[in-house]
Amino acid sequence: MIQAQETVVLQGHIIDSLILAKVLDTILMMGGTFDLSEMRIGTTRGEPSRAKIIVRASSTALLEEILEAIQPHGASIERESDCVLLPAPANGVLPDMFYATTHLPTQVRLRGRWIEVEGIEMDVAVRVDAGLTAAKAVPMGAVRRGDLIVVGREGIRVLPLQRPKERDVFGFMEAQVSSERPHGHIIVDIARRMRALRDDREAGKEGSDVLLAGGPAIIHAGGREALTWLIESGFIQVLFGGNALAAHDMEAHLFGTSLGYRLSAGRAVPHGHENHLRTINRIRAIGSIEQAVRSGVITEGIMAACVRRGVRIVLAGSIRDDGPLPGVITDTMAAQAAMRAALPGVGLALLVASTLHAVATGNLLPATVPTVCVDVNPAVPTKLADRGSFQAVGLVMDAASFLRELARELGWKA
């Protein structure tokens, strides 16, 4: 939920006189919250102090009431100005000094009104419509010459995340990256969220989709059945992956191997390395993964479940891909745009066993989406957090163990 906020300044002898205490007490007593964003305390008795206070309230009306109550005690609303706009000089080029976003909820001030930036994600710009009534996050490449772009830092405010109501692992909003920590309670919390989101979805609530971005290690490590079950049971609505995840999933179905290793025995089979190529070739011949499923060539597994359940799939190609499979997007900017288009409605993101897909997805997600990053390599969740996705809960564990435990928690009997 976006709150209303305003910055006020209080100065003078505000400490010993308890004026600051009174103003802060008033804000809290009236149901608001505050951040002391700046505090300068006079070093001598004669020297005044100065406090900059960000006042927040659950509604504009409450904020107004609070401001009215604290103004007689000297709290002056900081003079704010509209954001500064400049036209993009060319297609795909932002004006110098463009404002680069964070993935936190952001507002820009247009003609005295604070407007929320739609589709916020990190490291993009903000485009304002010609009527100055709406603002949208826009990646550099998608900018068109003449688009009005927010520049500088004036008239922009970034709102901190509110703590969620749920008292679970996501409430701490900190990346827990350690193989030394117990996983059980985190998985229980994730399962609880997924169950609640499924209920929300059935009730028609927005923002109740679950995204899974995964790498092929899910198949190699033995997480295929669990993930398939999660999809079949309606716990996942969006799947991000690459050529390999889909190829090995279907290879497992057609040949019983993953990258040539027999999944049941764990041994390389003769000429097994050809299996994923033969799989890709077969699907290419059919024309699409969906057609392969509908025509009965692929009848079980992750891809089959996705097609049957209508899961939105984005397969992004990479430089090492064989084939690729039909539907794999090899233009990286096009793939990024497809991923971005699939994100609205996502209320939980599981990033499992893929460094590139985890970081790419993390960069596209607003901070308001609870995110879990699972990888056997602690460097992956760390990298994700270092790149700004501080809201991601890191879980250092094997992909298959995670998916199996999660599925079991949600009722999988295997």
Partner: protein, 266 residues
């Protein structure tokens, strides 16, 4: 020798109502008012030995008699008041002129930054206190503290009957304080208790606070105060002050008493 600025009550009357004490129907008796004013002046000059600077009253400005609200003076510097009510804003230029004509360096507050002079700003040797919320704007104190380089502790006034700080808070020479706590909000009460040690704080009973016992003029060990405040007088006398009770009820019709009728110049 201490100097006080005063203004004879030639045009003093109730022409408007801007505080709970004023009633247009409660007319001033000009003769009594003049007699009471002169009684106070005599007591100040003869008993306390102050020098009185008399300013010229102006027709149509009945409250000019309350020179405590002319502004605030420290050494050679004067900051004239910015009145909240338009009725009294017309006095501003006369007070400002008086300060300029008498060689004061005048600093002006910006328009709209209400500050009603020594009616709301009262000093102890180590700290000044500023009443706000009723008349003066708390923001004025941040500015005044810059001008004078002094700490000013704002105190919130919560009872409209005690609309200026000098109606409920009276610092005396030697650091004693006479005051009426219910006129302040709890934060201000806590600050006063914190700043002025208990043996130096004297609480005025409600009945005498309502007679403006706190609106007293203190010069050295002499204190001129409205009559009818026996408990306050007993308190003060026990502390070694010499009290001078005076009839000032004509001025109470406008919500003022001894202190309101004077402005300390030194």
């Amino acid at each position: 020798m201490s100097r006080l600025l005063v203004c004879p009550p030639d045009y003093f009357s109730i022409d408007y109502e801007i505080n709970p004490w004023m009633r247009l129907s409660n007319a001033v008796d000009p003769e009594r008012a003049r007699a009471q004013w002169h009684g106070l002046m005599r007591a100040l000059e003869e008993e306390t030995g102050v020098f009185l600077e008399r300013m010229q009253p102006v027709p149509g400005l009945p409250d000019m008699v309350f020179t405590a609200n002319a502004g605030v003076v420290v050494g050679n510097r004067a900051v004239p008041s910015r009145f909240r009510h338009p009725e009294r804003q017309r006095e501003e230029r006369y007070f400002e002129d008086w300060f300029r004509d008498h060689g004061y360096e005048v600093a002006l507050l910006e328009n709209g930054l209400y500050f009603e002079g020594a009616g709301d700003l009262l000093g102890f040797p180590d700290a000044w206190f500023g009443g706000y919320r009723q008349r003066s704007d708390i923001r004025a104190y941040a500015r005044l503290s810059e001008i004078f380089g002094r700490e000013i502790i704002p105190l919130e006034l919560v009872d409209g009957r005690f609309y200026h700080l000098d109606t409920c808070f009276c610092p005396f020479s030697g650091g004693d304080l006479l005051y009426y706590p219910p006129a302040f909000d709890p934060y201000a009460q806590a600050v006063i208790e914190d700043r002025i040690e208990k043996p130096r704080r004297f609480v005025v009973p409600t009945s005498e606070a309502l007679r403006f016992a706190c609106n007293a003029v203190c010069v050295g060990k002499h204190i001129a105060l409205p009559e009818g405040c026996p408990e306050t007088m007993a308190l003060l006398e026990a502390r070694g002050y010499e009290t001078h009770p005076l009839p000032l009820d004509e001025f109470m019709k406008a919500g003022g008493s001894a202190k309101c009728l004077t402005l300390a110049l030194d």
